[in-house]
């Protein structure tokens, strides 16, 4: 398991490449990845910037708990989770969830489950800055299931 927070933009695919150099890929035939980036729109409004608040300490613990629970449910998986915090610009990376497994069903289902739990449980809060300069807190995530 690896869980990381980044205060600066990161390249999700470079993170996956770096992690794969340490993995026995001849046994992990399946890799499912989700990468989420900041869109420049939300609920029909132009969004110019985002601030991602988090709860230092709890956020890391909670991500580790979510990944550990997935590793209990799908014992064969290996996971990499990364999330941005702080000021984010459109098109920049927000979240990466990568799951390796011997078989594709476990990789796919665990990747989806970790992402959904992260979005509904982990302590992150988005504040958007709109085109007219006003700011607003995002009230809820869109449903994923």
């Amino acid at each position: 398991m690896a869980v990381r927070l980044f205060a600066r933009p990161f390249d999700p695919w470079a993170l996956v490449q770096e992690r794969e150099r340490q993995l026995p890929l001849e046994r992990l035939g399946a890799c499912s990845v989700f990468a989420g980036r900041m869109r420049d729109f939300n609920e029909d409004e132009d969004v110019r910037a985002l601030f991602l608040e988090h709860y230092p300490g709890m956020t890391e613990r909670d991500l580790e708990r979510i990944v550990a629970e997935a590793e209990t449910r799908w014992p064969s998986i290996t996971c990499e989770v990364a999330h941005r915090v702080g000021a984010v610009e459109p098109a920049e990376i927000l979240v990466l969830v990568a799951v390796w497994s011997a078989h594709r069903v476990a990789a796919r289902d665990a990747c989806s489950e970790i992402l959904e739990r992260l979005k509904h449980e982990a302590p992150f809060w988005k504040r958007e800055r709109l085109a007219d300069g006003t700011e607003r807190w995002v009230e809820r995530n869109t449903p994923g299931q």
Binding site: L52, E53, Y55, R61, L118, A122, P123, W125, W137
Partner: protein
């Protein structure tokens, strides 16, 4: 059962809730009637708002989760990461 005890609790607020409360933390010192997360909120702010989320010592909690001396209790709105 814990009435009479001296209880000191650190309270943290996040995101929109921090702005609504107007500060990012409180220190609560009580000699008895603060036994749950809900008691902590009510002692400071009255009735809890809908969709209030909470944590005790950085683990998710509910309004009926017990609190103890030295705990860190956090209150926050629904999360929106990912």
């Amino acid at each position: 059962m814990c009435r009479g005890r001296q209880v000191t609790i650190t309270v943290l607020y996040f995101a929109r809730l921090r702005e609504d409360v107007g500060r990012e933390r409180d220190e609560v010192a009580s000699t008895g009637d603060v036994q749950t997360v809900g008691d902590v909120w009510r002692g400071l702010h009255g009735e809890p708002p809908a969709r209030l989320m909470a944590a005790v010592n950085q683990a998710h909690a509910r309004l009926d989760t017990p609190v103890a001396d030295g705990d860190e209790v956090a209150f926050f709105p629904p999360v929106t990461g990912g």
